[in-house]
Symmetry: C2
Subunit: 300 residues, 2 copies
Amino acid sequence: MTPTMTRADAERRIKLGAGDRVAVVAGSGRLPVNVAEGLAEAGHSPFIVMLAGEADDDPKLASFEHDRLALEEIGSLVPLLKRHKITHVVLAGGVGRRPHWRQIRPTFALFRILPKILMALARGDDGLLRVIIGEIEAEGFKVVGAHEIVPDLLASEGPMTHARPQKGDLADLDAALAAARAIGALDIGQAAVAIGGRVVALEGVEGTDGLLQRVKELRHHGRVGGRKRGVLVKCAKPGQELRADLPGIGPATVDAAHAAGLAGIGVEAGHSLVLDFGETVKRADALGLFVVGLQAGGAQ
Amino acid sequence: MTPTMTRADAERRIKLGAGDRVAVVAGSGRLPVNVAEGLAEAGHSPFIVMLAGEADDDPKLASFEHDRLALEEIGSLVPLLKRHKITHVVLAGGVGRRPHWRQIRPTFALFRILPKILMALARGDDGLLRVIIGEIEAEGFKVVGAHEIVPDLLASEGPMTHARPQKGDLADLDAALAAARAIGALDIGQAAVAIGGRVVALEGVEGTDGLLQRVKELRHHGRVGGRKRGVLVKCAKPGQELRADLPGIGPATVDAAHAAGLAGIGVEAGHSLVLDFGETVKRADALGLFVVGLQAGGAQ
């Protein structure tokens, strides 16, 4: 971590007692690794539940005590946690696919919550996460957010990089933030790209990588062509369940934003995660991109 | 036109006098052709201003009296209209690119409105259209909407096809309509696609064709995979300048929606255009898709 990162959010950190043990339910991406390493650095030995097809084959994760679980075996999660005497659970990382329902291994616990899960799926990701969190807590575990375990992951306000937004970038940041909030309110996506003062692309299920790939291709589009710079903004959904699915960026986001010809990235301070912080900032500095924390609930 | 098309909007038709002459400023797509043919059928001989790079080489359009104009010569539009004793102007069709500012042929009229145009560009398409319409009207012409010339172009309420939305499609129509309205309010796009009850993709500058192409690719995405059906919804922006840029669908939209695996299309009744109506419905019927007019200001 660099000195540009404030520690104002450090008080959010969960106090873990001697008998406490944290399980990291690990999806894809760098967040599970960051959380596990943060726990280890603080002297706590994490237990990793690697979601098959998402987190498997990560040697860093596999270096901790771990087990694998297919999405279809999700009904076995609670028994697994109990067997390992887990007290706290962190849901970290992405889950890019939906379970194959026909392959789900039936358990009594699962049958009990299945109607809730189906209703939640119809309401979108956020609804689903709330149900899963509620069910895990009903079993006596405490579900905590990645940022409550490793507060340094939370984006701080202001520029994190040498580069800062130029005057024209501010209009892009405003426009993209308003758009990201609007689609977040509908539980569609968390990210938007603005170029030349107007929003050109919005995130759907394709995710931020797919969004940036599209922007790269749109550079040749008649309505974008010739315009330089532009920004990516990611922000949390209004009223989002902060213990899961916080928007995040990392080194790969910086690379993809640069490949899309963007000048920088804005994230909502206090409500977004910057993964592999040192590496992310280093990469952005090397490429001349800015990464800036935007005031939460600011520009609308 | 088929009997399923109501004529409730026919009273919107502009009454043209003997000395009136309508110019169709023609961008890309089928709308200029539909408007020109509608005028000709009503006994009015249209004058077509074909925007170079957008409407050129359309033999149907070229069969009417016409002239060509590059976007960069837009300052010559008013003199051209005056020369042909035009009284009414319809702006019809898409303009996919922005003018090359350096190639713009300067005229005094253009220099006068350039600051307004630049400000309007920054506010998005709708702002730009308002400025252009205002300037043309300030020169004494009456700018009318395509639907005021050919009211049958407007989508009516209810199903236009043999196929009708199934129960599951109604949730998709609601979700996509709410999303399309939200991004329309931000002047980003006019269309959204929902599959399995949730919005998966939103229109940006790539346009509806690009959106549907993306949905086709997303069919293999983990979060969409396995789900059938889904809908495209297009709707007008709230408070949209109805005399230009009304959302439209046509036979090509039906083909692209079908290729994307969608079950149907919803358009906002009274605020959307169905181009080549007979052909559009015939194509949808052949493919088993529904096309339905949604109550304007209905589901939110």
